[in-house]
């Protein structure tokens, strides 16, 4: 087997991290060094193979893809039968499920982004988690996470994709709840798992339906097959359910999966809470893996989602309509929340939701390439921002310790504290009683002072002075997020989405909606990004902690950690700028001319990714209006930010300037995230909990079912008792009565046997006389015999009764 064969190679790409996971969990977990070597080595190996694949494809297989219009020559793929079904005949006619991998342009670009981002996050984690006692477990989970994402990327069928998808769900659960001692952490973990699972089960219905209709789940058999797509697009779903076609219903289900995984409204609630995990996890979830997977899924399934529609003519299919509405709404909705958040990671979390909304909305109006482009650029700059914010938090914690130490007369360089936070000092990062230095016990959990929050931007300010690298890389990332014109990747990808919306707005009113809401969201994006940078890095330090905040305090270990955390930032900052030039429209003045010199066939990204589809999306002509929109939204947003947060310095304890503008009530609603969590709790979770604990377990099972059984049992017992009574009274009465009567008679007659021999003689005499009398009677008055006999019986009965009564009296 030739492993450099691109048909085989994708099998191997996810393997190293998965193996690393098992090796670390089972064997290597005791040694930190070994764990680090294995984890980093594994992801490096994956990255190397991916890079080889991407490089080979970009340089030697430029015609990869299926779009005949662009000279596509098919994809690299190989598969095996994974689950037989029905007669073992040729092909998929009986619905056997295959497992396989493939390389097409779309997952080639994912393979460019994912392993690189993962590798950088792993390296960053070395420094960030250096002092965590469960460091090795963290690397194991992280490896599984990366392995699952890579599995998802190389999958050639929906089932394998779903496997990777769900394993990532597990990893996010484990990692968000990594500091499981904290209630907020495990609650966030459960919330993340359950919320995404809502989407997942709906998606599973879609997969089931897709399999039932086509007998396969292979992308090549479905997405690369006009006939199948056509059939799905023309068959009514379930005999005309809601007037949808089969493709429509399947598409809606799949979009639901994405809504869960990519945290779109109404399933967005888990993502901000996912900030409870250590920061590398946030980066992993927000950039490299989890949420990207959701968008990747819809981009991947786009031929199915759009089957039967024609976005260029303004005909959108139901899944696309859903995507454009949900995406544009979410983009705007999340951006309005982001402007009011004070937690540095929460702002980024809502910005992620908002940016994912951009991608979903773009795909909803058919901007295939733009969505994929924004996915890649966003992954880089968002990973950068998260890692940067991790650096900030790390430094703030350190600063807090240093400030404490300075106050208490200790040296500022207290080794034990450097990377580790304690619950006493904010409680946001890493409470580990087991390994904490002794001093921590002097600050018990219930510190009377209000807890210091190292993630609260109001506590920061002026951090740029001690952390120039972090600041500059963060600014680059922020600029890219905000769409700083012309040089940042974010600008180019966002510009392309807006351009697509602009071009379609003539055909489709939905495109107008998308354009307007995305433009407003982009203004807010620029605004909150500027606010974040201003509050964090600029101005004067607002707390002691901010004054001392840094992570390189001169010791060798700290320098090492600092290097491990800074290097990935620099690489990502580089990517956050240059990645954008791959997608510049050649018609763009000056810059387009420059890039066309390198890429003579036009925008390389659009060309390359466009070949994924059977029919390449058409190239947009350059137009000034969307560029003007992009420019102006950036300027408006930044201008607002400058006016509110730079011109007037924000001071600790002061009301947020936003509050004056929008009013206290609206601001509170924004800060409370529109009370969506509270609504879900009220509308779904609490009723369900009541149903589970009370209705089902108590009322139905114990009450109705067991109650019915009890009634049956009771009535059976009652009937049984009835029979028993009958037995006792009638049958036993007869059968027991005779011996009883005999016994009674014996009891009453026993006084006869007195033991006095003369009494016996008397009886004998009486009896003899009685017999004699009767004989005489018989001889003399034969006719009177019956009467005499009757009289004697009566006398006898009377005598017995008399004796009985007297006997029982005597016994009483």
């Amino acid at each position: 087997m030739n492993f450099s064969d691109l048909n085989i190679l994708p099998w191997l790409i996810p393997i190293p991290p998965l193996v690393a996971f098992f090796v670390i969990i089972l064997f290597a977990g005791r040694s930190k060094l070994l764990t680090h070597i294995i984890a980093i080595g594994a992801i490096f190996l994956s990255w190397l193979m991916s890079f080889y694949a991407v490089y080979t494809i970009v340089t030697q297989h430029k015609d990869l893809g299926t779009a005949a219009a662009l000279g596509g020559k098919g994809v690299f793929a190989s598969s095996v039968t994974w689950l037989v079904n029905g007669a073992t005949g040729p092909g998929t006619a009986t619905g056997a499920l295959g497992m396989g991998v493939m390389l097409d342009p779309l997952n080639t670009i994912m393979l460019f982004m994912v392993p690189l981002a993962c590798l950088l996050i792993f390296i960053y984690t070395l420094g960030y988690m250096a002092h965590d006692p469960r460091n090795t477990r963290f690397f194991a989970f992280l490896s599984l996470f990366a392995g699952a994402m890579l599995t998802l990327v190389v999958a050639d069928n929906l089932l394998l994709l779903f496997i990777g998808w769900e394993v990532m769900g597990l990893c996010s659960y484990l990692l968000i709840g990594f500091w499981y001692e904290k209630p907020s952490a495990y609650q966030a973990a459960i919330k993340a798992f359950m919320t995404t699972r809502v989407g997942d089960v709906i998606m599973m219905i879609g997969i089931a339906y897709l399999w039932a209709s086509t007998g396969t789940l292979s992308f090549r058999a479905i997405l690369h097959n006009e006939d199948v797509l056509h059939k799905l697009a023309t068959t009514p779903a379930l005999g005309g359910f809601l007037g949808l076609t089969a493709a429509g219903l399947i598409g809606l289900c799949i979009v639901a999966g994405t809504i869960g995984k990519s945290a779109q409204f109404p399933l967005h609630v888990w993502l901000p809470d996912a900030m409870e995990g250590p920061t590398p996890v946030s980066a992993m979830i927000h950039a490299a893996a989890m949420v990207s997977a959701g968008v990747y899924l819809v981009i991947r399934m786009y031929p199915l989602l759009s089957a039967g529609g024609n976005p260029e003519a303004g005909v959108l299919t139901p899944p696309m309509i859903l995507m454009s509405i949900v995406g544009s709404f979410t983009a705007l909705f999340a951006a309005t929340i982001a402007v009011s958040q004070n937690d540095i990671k929460k702002v980024l979390a809502y910005s992620t939701i908002s940016q994912l909304g951009f991608m979903i909305a773009a795909l909803g109006i058919g901007a295939y390439v733009a969505a994929a482009f924004h996915l890649i650029t966003h992954a880089f700059f968002k990973a950068l921002l998260f890692l940067g914010s991790g650096s900030v938090i790390h430094a703030m914690e350190h600063g807090e310790h240093a400030a404490h130490a300075a106050h208490e007369g200790h040296t500022a360089h207290d080794q034990g504290h450097v990377p580790d936070a304690s619950p006493a000092h904010g409680g946001h990062e890493a409470p580990h009683a087991a390994t904490e230095p002794i001093e921590h016990h002097e600050h018990p959990l219930h510190d009377p002072e209000p807890a210091f929050d190292p993630q609260d931007m109001r506590n920061m300010g002026g951090l740029g002075r001690n952390m120039p690298v972090t600041m500059w890389t963060f600014i680059i990332g922020g600029a890219s997020l905000a769409g700083f014109p012309l040089i940042t990747a974010g600008f180019w990808s966002k510009d392309e989405i807006l351009a697509d919306a602009w071009h379609l707005s003539a055909q489709s009113p939905l495109a107008v909606l998308v354009l307007v809401s995305l433009a407003v969201a982009a203004i807010l994006t620029a605004f909150y990004t500027f606010r974040q940078i201003a509050l964090t890095f600029w101005g004067e330090p607002r707390t002691e902690a901010a004054k001392f905040a840094q992570h390189n305090d001169g010791t060798a270990e700290a320098r090492n950690i600092s290097a491990q955390m800074t290097a990935p930032l620099i690489v990502l900052a580089f990517m956050a700028i240059v990645a954008g030039f791959a997608g510049v429209n050649p018609g763009f003045p000056i810059i387009g001319a420059i890039t066309s010199r390198f890429f003579p066939q036009g925008a390389p990204f659009a060309n390359f990714v466009g070949r994924t589809l059977l029919e390449a999306p058409e190239h947009l002509d350059f137009s000034w209006w969307p560029v003007l929109v992009s420019f102006s939204v950036f300027l408006i947003g930044v201008g607002m930010g400058y006016a509110l947060y730079v011109r007037r310095q924000y001071a600790l304890g002061q009301k947020d300037p936003m509050e004056d503008i929008v009013g206290a009530d609206i601001y509170r609603i924004l800060q409370k995230k529109y009370y969506v969590d509270e609504f879900y709790g009220w509308a779904f979770i609490n009723p369900l909990r009541w149903i589970a604990t009370t209705l089902v377990s108590q009322i139905v099972d114990k009450g109705i079912i067991d109650g019915t059984l009890n009634i049956i049992a009771t009535s059976a017992t009652w009937i049984g008792n009835l029979f028993r009574e009958f037995n006792r009274v009638v049958i036993d009465g007869v059968s027991d009565g005779i011996p009883d009567a005999i016994a009674d008679a014996g009891r009453s007659l026993r006084s006869v046997q007195s033991g006095h021999i003369q009494q016996y003689l008397l009886y004998a005499l009486v009896a003899a006389l009685w017999v004699g009398l009767n004989l005489i009677l018989l001889a003399v008055f034969p006719l009177a015999v019956p009467w005499a006999a009757l009289a004697q019986v009566v006398i006898a009965v009377l005598l017995i009764l008399f004796f009985n009564v007297s006997g029982s009296r005597a016994s009483n």
Binding site: A87, V696, S697
Partner: protein, 547 residues
């Protein structure tokens, strides 16, 4: 000579009665050496290990299609060859001619998988039973006796012996619960026994009715002839009391249905399960959930639907709705529990619901296939997938539920409480246990990459074509599965360390890890490469549908 020994060793009769021999030996040891408890345990384990080897060998030979015993051609009834079931390793001899019963045994893919499951789970349960200290010999002997009942049922191809083993499996479990169970064991064992007897009564009567009407108790013959309203020799049925054919069939169908529905259990016949599972000793729960519940589903697949295709088809929507109710209400009820073992017990209702859903899909179309009605390609591949999934789900649930009960029992054995509110933050104290618990829980939850997912996906994807709405609503149950599994993990492992347990030794013991390890490996292997077992099941199912 060696061939003869192999043949004897692998004969299904040896397989069935070897555990009973083992039980006898163990009881003999009690008389001879009553103080040597560990000897009794080890001998019992040894016997179950021999059975394990037998079952693995049988499975392997069956999968390879080279059963060394071969088929006994002298099948008493030539009409049996028309049966859609084809058996290997068959053997038939006189047994009870007075009632028309023969000792007829044989295996197909369905029973081979179940025998393998039984063979795997029994030694593991025995290994867990090592923690029992009182009446060791009786305990072990009862397990072997129970194994005989299970294996006998899976190999029986005669209604009489089927019923015999059906009842025989009940008795040891009753005693296991009643003697070695928890606090509420008398109520639980009594309820268990009454429920089971309630079902068995109808089953017995229905079996007698069928045998008197059709003139045979041979399952292959009956499956071939009974649905066509013919007796064993191809003549007309002799109906009793002037009853109509419809009445006879409906009564027999209902009796069969209720008997097997109780065992599965299908909602609303399930309330014996939480009590019995919760009160049974750990090893008993493992086998109860791991194998015994499968008897019911096995009965559906082997008897109810093949014998009563028309009635099953008419009843299929009801079965599907009950399956849905089981999936959703089982999950909700599990979520509502505070007793860890009870939570796991309810999860069985939830998971077996998927088996029933697959069975409902099977029932919905089998009659059409049998009578040669028009079927679409979608229907055919869907019903195959659903039925395959139901069987695989039986296997997978056997693994994961046994693993869950093992883990719950391991904790209970050391902590002496199962109250979820009393734990918390234990992962720090018991890392190995915690990791294993999460793994097994995830298998139970149906995480892709582990066994449960494959079969749940098969059932869902296969049932969709027949019951789209019911399947979609059942997915809500899958959501709730996540809720209760995470609740269990959260309550035990997550949260601040409960200081009460810091001085307790709660970590899982090496013996328990040894017992769990095969389950963990099998769950993982089945999730990653289900095709190791699927062809065996698929081949039988496919033949059933005449594909």
């Amino acid at each position: 000579m060696l061939g003869e020994i192999t043949k004897f060793f692998l004969s299904l009769s040896t397989l069935t009665f070897l555990p009973m021999l083992g039980a006898g030996v163990v009881m003999l040891l009690k008389i001879v050496l009553p103080e040597q408890k560990s000897l009794g345990r080890n001998v019992a384990l040894l016997f179950s290990l021999i059975v394990l080897i037998q079952s693995i060998a049988l499975f392997g030979y069956y999968a390879a299609g080279t059963c060394p015993i071969g088929n006994v051609p002298a099948n008493a009834n030539a009409n049996a060859s028309a049966s859609p079931f084809v058996f290997a390793c068959e053997h038939q001899s006189e047994f009870f001619p007075l009632v028309g019963s023969t000792w007829h045994v044989g295996i197909d893919g369905l029973s081979a998988a179940m025998i393998l499951l039984t063979g795997i789970l029994t030694p593991l349960a025995m290994l867990i039973s090592y923690e029992i200290e009182e009446n060791v010999h009786e305990h072990m002997a009862l397990f072997l006796f129970f194994e005989m009942g299970l294996l006998g049922l899976f190999v029986s191809l005669d209604l009489f012996t089927f019923f015999l083993f059906w009842e025989l499996s009940l008795v040891p479990m009753y005693f296991l619960i009643n003697i070695w169970g928890g606090e509420n064991r008398r109520y639980a064992s009594f309820k268990f026994f009454l429920y089971a007897m309630g079902g068995s009564l109808g089953l017995l009567l229905a079996i007698q009715l069928i045998s008197s009407v059709a003139g045979t108790m041979d399952i292959p013959t009956l499956v071939a002839m009974w649905p066509k309203n013919l007796n064993a020799t191809g003549g007309a049925l002799t109906l009793p009391f002037g009853a109509s054919l419809e009445t006879v069939k409906n009564i027999a169908f209902l009796a069969f249905f209720v008997a097997f529905a109780i065992k599965v259990p299908i909602w609303p016949f399930h309330t014996w399960l939480p009590d019995a599972h919760t009160e049974a000793p750990t090893a008993g729960s493992m086998l109860l959930a791991g194998v015994m519940l499968k008897l019911g589903a096995y009965g559906f697949l082997r008897l109810v639907i093949p014998l009563f295709p028309a009635q099953s088809q008419a009843f299929a929507p009801v079965i599907a709705i009950l399956a849905m109710a089981g999936i959703i209400l089982g999950a909700l009820a599990a979520w509502g529990q505070t007793d860890f073992k009870r939570l796991v017990a309810y999860s069985s209702v939830n998971h077996m619901g998927f088996v029933v859903l697959g069975i409902a899909a099977f029932a919905a179309i089998y009659n059409t296939i049998l009578t040669g009605g028009a079927t679409s390609a979608e229907q055919m591949r869907s019903v195959t997938l659903a039925t395959n999934g139901a069987v695989l789900q039986m296997f997978n649930h056997g693994l994961s539920s046994a693993g869950m009960f093992l883990l719950v029992g391991a904790l209970y054995h050391k902590a002496h409480t199962r109250d979820l509110t009393k734990f918390g933050g234990l992962w720090t104290l018991i890392p190995v246990y915690g990791t294993l618990l999460i793994f097994t829980s995830m298998a139970s939850l149906g995480l892709p990459g582990l066994g449960g997912f494959v079969s749940e996906f098969q059932v869902v994807a296969g049932s969709w074509w027949f019951f789209p709405t019911i399947t979609a609503v059942s997915m809500l149950g899958l959501l709730m599965t996540g809720a209760y599994i995470l609740k269990g993990i959260r309550a035990v492992l997550h949260g601040p360390v409960n200081e009460h347990w810091r001085d307790h030794h709660l970590e899982i013991s090496p013996r328990e890890v040894l017992a769990l390890a095969p389950l963990v490996i099998l769950i993982l292997v089945t999730g990653v490469w289900p095709n190791w077992i699927m062809p065996v099941i698929n081949q039988t199912v496919t033949r059933l549908f005449g594909l």
